[in-house]
Symmetry: C3
Subunit: 196 residues, 3 copies
């Protein structure tokens, strides 16, 4: 009997799925093209990471460094004009569960960013969260445009390994704090829609 | 009765799906490994983007700049030998719906590329389309090898946000025009196979 | 009759699928969130690629070159301190089916890497396998952290084209050999979970 009930539920659920998909297929045209219903998120994670930019004086504490810069700029200081356009940094930043730089790190954010707009502050990020705590073991890799001055901006999850094998989703990033050209802290709110 | 009909259709569709998948599973070996039938594209988009490379004289109009170069080269001009091997550029290029540089932009193509072959012109691209028009709001991020001299080359869609949340697919890129080392225009024909 | 049998098999398989998914949905909480059962791999591939790093003396044979470096370092030699932190290289490396540098290449590994940790050797990789042999035509793009000193490390497959259209999965990378700062060979064991 239990099995039979399951069977009925299955059929109803399946009918709903197929019918709704079909409807969307049929109405698909240039202006109405969303095909699959968005699955319920399977995981939500919030982390902070902390970037201390090398500025010529903080070699000991810096967690990132410029490795590329446009003509006429140098690798010690962020380019003074054009909103750092063309400055590229490599980083290995601690990840914490709260906004305290001194909290025990649960992993490292490793990757690169570069400033890519002349007329405003905007960047492009490619990086990986390497998590190695009791709660999470694995990596999540992100990539995409980061319009810094926008309060909340979405960046794509492009890959994952370990606990996050083939995860898909987005990260909503916000600048939680910054201190001139020396420090910034990003809050990364990760929503995954496919978890294995 | 309507429900019953739906149920039948569902069963037939489902049988087809499972049977065809099963067959492919069973015949899966080293030489016959395509597992899932390719879904029908859910979206096709064509855009152009325009890259004006800084060459020491066009600071005002340039939309990209060298930020890295190999030993012996400089950041003002593309490396003269080895097909620009090792030159890395950051860009913020206007996206248009047609091949006219002066058409109203519908977004920005932001990212980086580098020349990565000594014996021919070839590049590697990582970039994001940031679309912000009445038709499209969101981002699509791409990555992959770009063998420039091939007429049509495919680059992977690796992520998406907003209207393009978790989109999957490819972009077929072709060089629509170029002027020496100062300007190129790419036509990007995007085919998405998963849309939400 | 055959059809009816198929139908029964379908129902059983489907019930199993939905019931197991449902159970996982229901029990999903902070500590038990794996939602989908991991599909069986659809493809396993093993390749080797060979990186010959430019060191000022091997311009003829080098397959990679530094294009970025931190303040105070140069582009001829890997940075002597801080475990090459901040050194960024672009590469176009031959791919072989075995660990012999002189075997006929089946494609090229093209992309970039940078060293991103001060206190140990660790890198971040973004690259594409461009395969063009009788067995494989297409590209696979990878991205993620590469903790070099770990024997086996997983990197995400982030995209694919051609034979590998929209492939998903991971690559388990191991350093098969290295010679100082001039040569390394990586073994890349690719497991794909979605093939079209």
């Amino acid at each position: 009997m239990a099995v039979k009930n399951h069977n009925s539920a299955v059929h109803l659920g399946f009918v709903w799925l197929v019918v709704s998909s079909t409807v969307l297929f049929q109405s698909s045209d240039g202006h109405r093209w969303k095909k699959y219903p968005l699955p319920k998120p399977c995981r939500n994670l919030v982390f902070y990471f902390h970037d201390v930019i090398y500025n010529g004086l903080n070699a000991e504490n810096a967690t990132s460094t410029l490795v590329g810069a446009p003509h006429g700029a140098n690798l010690t200081l962020l380019a003074g004009k054009d909103n750092h356009f063309g400055d590229m940094a490599v980083f290995d930043d601690p990840i914490t569960l709260d906004n305290n730089f001194h909290s025990p790190p649960v992993g490292r954010a490793q990757g690169f960013y570069f400033y890519d707009m002349k007329n405003t502050f905007s960047a492009w990020l490619g990086f990986t969260f390497v998590l190695n705590s009791t709660d999470h073991r694995g990596t999540i890799t992100f990539g995409g445009a980061d319009p810094i001055l926008t309060k909340h901006r979405d960046i794509s999850v492009v890959g994952g390994t370990g606990d996050f094998l083939m995860s898909r989703g987005i990260a909503t990033v916000s600048t939680d704090a910054y201190e001139g050209d020396v420090y910034f802290r990003l809050c990364v709110n990760i929503t995954l829609y496919e978890c294995y």
